[in-house]
């Protein structure tokens, strides 16, 4: 039997845990060279290694909870997504989905030899994770890790001079080699992680583990004694990386051109006329997505279309969208249905959320019509995951028209399908569902325009306040009038620009070199909204609700215009 002692450099790869340390719904606390980690495995098996502090108040994330899809900080409930570390929800800002797009600092994780490996240097390549001749990943058998109150340097120098016995009790590991990885924890402590090159027989397993636990434990005691350790050292002050402002999503530089390459991983018929697509990143990691979000999809024919993302919490290995074939398609859905196949590469925007979900409602009523199900389903999955009270009513033509039936089925009795209702029956049913309003109830509706109009009218008649009624249209059904002529004054830029008939404010701004985020460009998604300081707006969008339109403090620049001769914008 040979014994090999190994330890990496400051920028190299180090084991920080055993694979078996990361049990279901647990957050493991690890440390390397003074940097602390919260390490957790999601229900989909992904290993997250994050800096061990909440972005908010610096509390250790390792005292938080792993709910299988997200890590929730114990202090103020900030939720961080599996895979990205992106903040998905801040309970103190229930209505705010977009402004916070920060991420926990994450480190790369690799599982090998039954251990979890990471490196402090994101530039370190995977090839540098030394492949040991003596260890075979499938056979390697990790031992109980042993922590020492001694530096890794001292420990290594001792280990190199020490004889380690061989168990006589297990024939199967007689010829096994032993590799001892020394993990520097901080300036005063280290962990020795032993791995045998051969897995013992099942009946000998515990005895082998006990043998090496005792053997290495005795070695530990010897090293600590000769190093003069009297008492457990105080942990060295833990190190933190300097804060970095990470901004993704709706930054001022984001516009329609900013795009991420994705590949079609799966394409399937999820319902009559509805094709599901799973879009995975061509390289790297997709951005965090929150319920209600949409992405711009850049099609091979250069068209750009918006699709809501169906993903459940923590599901960030691919974006899932549902595309309904529109019989009057002008090249969006017809191209996706007719031409886009598995393996094709497309571009998508970062996810944006103009339809954010509050999670502080005493009850959430979700109503979807047809393919309007997609954002509503993402919301239902998020509420379901957190165990919050909700019901989802899905108005759909027939059983065969129900998209994502498997996801809906998983939500159980919270979902009701209303099949094959005519327009009058739909209105009657909506009136029954959207009955009396009580405090802190919230309604979310997405579907065809007549249904949305009916739902909003019913809510209004039953005295639901505008702030409790959330909606998203597929398209803007209002008759657009671009005949007015006016000027816009940009208060912060001290620039005044004319807007002529047929031009939109958005076009004028972009032509003047002002960086504006936009997406649907028809007054549906809310991306291009600006604050209005002065002037009488001519709202032509379907994003703002009636109260917001009446107060006139915000304006969608893609379609809305001015009734006054001048608008002063907060730009």
């Amino acid at each position: 039997m040979s014994v090999t002692v190994l330890s990496g450099t400051k920028s190299g790869w180090h084991p920080i845990a055993s694979s078996s340390d990361l049990v279901d719904r647990h957050v493991y606390q690890g440390q390397l060279f003074g940097y602390e980690f919260a390490v957790w495995r999601s229900d989909d098996g992904f290993v997250n290694i994050w800096e061990n502090r909440c972005l908010h108040r610096g509390v250790r994330l390792s005292v938080g909870t792993n709910d299988g899809a997200e890590l929730v900080c114990q202090y103020h409930g900030w939720r961080y997504a599996n895979r990205t570390g992106g903040v998905t929800y801040i309970p103190a800002h229930p209505a705010d989905a977009n402004t916070h797009s920060s991420c926990a600092r994450s480190y790369v994780a690799v599982e090998r030899y039954g251990l979890i490996w990471t490196t402090l240097d994101s530039e370190t390549s995977l090839a540098d994770l030394e492949v040991l001749d003596v260890l075979d990943d499938g056979q390697a058998f990790p031992l109980r890790p042993i922590d020492l109150w001694v530096t890794s340097e001292t420990t290594i120098s001792h280990l190199e001079r020490i004889e380690i016995g061989c168990p006589t009790l297990a024939d199967s590991t007689k010829h096994s080699d032993l590799v001892l990885f020394v993990q520097p924890v901080d300036e005063r402590r280290c962990v020795v992680r032993g791995v045998l090159s051969e897995r013992p027989d099942d009946e000998a397993k515990i005895d082998v583990l006990r043998f090496y636990s005792a053997e290495l434990g005795a070695v530990r005691d010897g090293i600590e004694k000769s190093a003069g350790v009297q008492a457990a050292p105080e942990p060295a002050a833990f190190k933190v990386h300097p804060a970095v402002e990470v901004s993704i999503g709706l930054s001022s530089a984001t516009n329609r051109q900013a795009a991420v390459p994705v590949r079609v991983r799966r394409r399937w018929n999820t319902a009559t006329d509805v094709v599901g697509f799973e879009l995975e990143a061509v390289s790297g990691q997709l951005s965090t997505v929150k319920p209600g979000s949409h992405i711009d999809l850049h099609l091979p024919n250069a068209l750009v279309r918006q699709y809501s993302v169906v993903n459940a919490p923590g599901e960030l290995d691919a974006y899932t969208i549902g595309v309904k074939l529109d019989p009057t398609s002008t090249g969006g859905s017809s191209t996706l249905h007719g031409e886009v196949v598995v393996g094709d590469e497309l571009l998508v925007s970062q996810p944006r959320n103009g339809f954010p979900l509050r999670r502080d409602a005493v009850h959430t009523l979700l109503i979807a019509g047809g393919i309007g199900l997609t954002p509503i389903l993402a919301m239902a999955q998020a509420l379901d995951h957190q165990g919050l009270p909700y019901e989802l009513h899905h108005f759909v033509r027939s059983q065969n028209h129900i998209a994502f039936a498997d996801r809906l089925e998983a939500l159980g009795t919270n979902v009701t399908h209303h099949l094959a209702l005519d327009p009058d029956e739909t209105v009657t049913q909506l009136q029954r569902l959207i009955s009396s309003y009580t405090d802190a109830k919230h309604l979310y509706v997405c579907g065809p325009a007549p249904m949305l109009t009916a739902a909003r009218a019913t809510a209004s008649a039953n005295e639901w306040p505008d702030h409790a009624v959330h909606f998203e249209y597929f398209a803007n059904p209002t008759q657009q009038d671009q005949s007015s002529e006016f000027e816009i004054a940009l208060a912060r830029s001290a620039v005044t620009l004319p807007v002529r008939p047929g031009e939109s404010i958005l076009e004028v701004l972009k032509n003047a070199g002002i960086s504006m985020a936009s997406s649907c460009e028809q007054g549906v998604c809310g991306t291009c909204g600006v604050d209005l300081i002065e002037g009488e707006p001519d709202h032509q969008d379907v994003y703002l609700n009636d109260t917001e339109k009446r107060t006139g403090k915000r304006l969608m620049t893609c379609v809305s215009r001015a009734k006054s001769s001048r608008l002063v914008l907060d730009l």
């Binding site: 929730v72 890790p145 515990i206």
Partner: protein, 212 residues
């Protein structure tokens, strides 16, 4: 109804609240101004407990002191399943007693360090912390091998016992006394399991785990 002479921040009082909650035993807290009033050291309280410490219970006139003794009494009397303190099995009685004595050790080291750091008790803090780490190393190895054998709890068998209750808060709050639980991953996983016992209740510094 059982009266518990109680202080919210006391780990030993919490052990009683936790077990009674799990067993569904109703009780009434008689709040003792342990800090800053030191009511437990006053003449009036010495009539309840001449040793001047809490917790103490009064169960219909039967008065009992000392946290781990109270756990034995409550489990023996109020757990009809007999799982929390298995008096039918001599080995398990011995094992449970062994780990209850171990819990005296964690209370006198880890929880003493916490009293030093948070309430200013004049203990030898280095001794408290080193003592706690020595015990935690033993507990870590014990629980690590329990996991290897597919077992979840401190004593043998597939059900938690009062030994789990007795050690749990000393471990959970050790950080407040400067004793990091980071070197003890098997202990940390076991605390998650304790938190998932039906009837689990929290105290300041001890939060629920995610459902498994």
């Amino acid at each position: 109804m059982i009266k518990l002479y109680d202080f919210e921040l006391s780990v030993n009082c919490y052990k009683q609240r936790l077990l009674m909650s799990i067993l569904g035993v109703e009780f009434e807290s008689v709040l003792v101004d342990f800090f800053p009033g030191s009511e437990h050291k006053g003449e009036e309280f010495k009539k309840v407990n001449p040793l001047g410490h809490i917790p103490v219970i009064d169960d219909g006139g039967f008065v009992l002191r000392d946290a781990h003794a109270i756990l034995i009494y409550l489990a023996a009397k109020y757990d009809p399943t007999g799982n929390w303190y298995r008096t039918s099995d001599p080995e398990l009685i011995g094992e449970t007693a062994q780990w209850l004595l171990f819990a005296e050790g964690t209370t006198n080291t880890a929880s003493a360090a916490r009293l030093h750091d948070s309430l200013g008790y004049p203990f030898d803090i280095d001794e408290c912390r080193s003592g706690a780490h020595k015990l935690f190393r033993v507990l870590e190895e014990h629980l690590w091998f329990r996991e290897q054998e597919g077992l979840d709890w401190i004593c043998s068998g597939d059900h938690p016992t009062i030994a789990d209750i007795a050690i749990f808060p000393d471990v959970m709050l050790s950080e407040e006394g400067g004793v990091s639980s980071q070197p003890y991953p098997a202990i940390r996983r076991w605390t998650d399991r304790v938190k998932r016992i039906p009837g689990f209740v929290v105290m300041p510094g001890i939060f629920p785990a995610a459902t498994a």
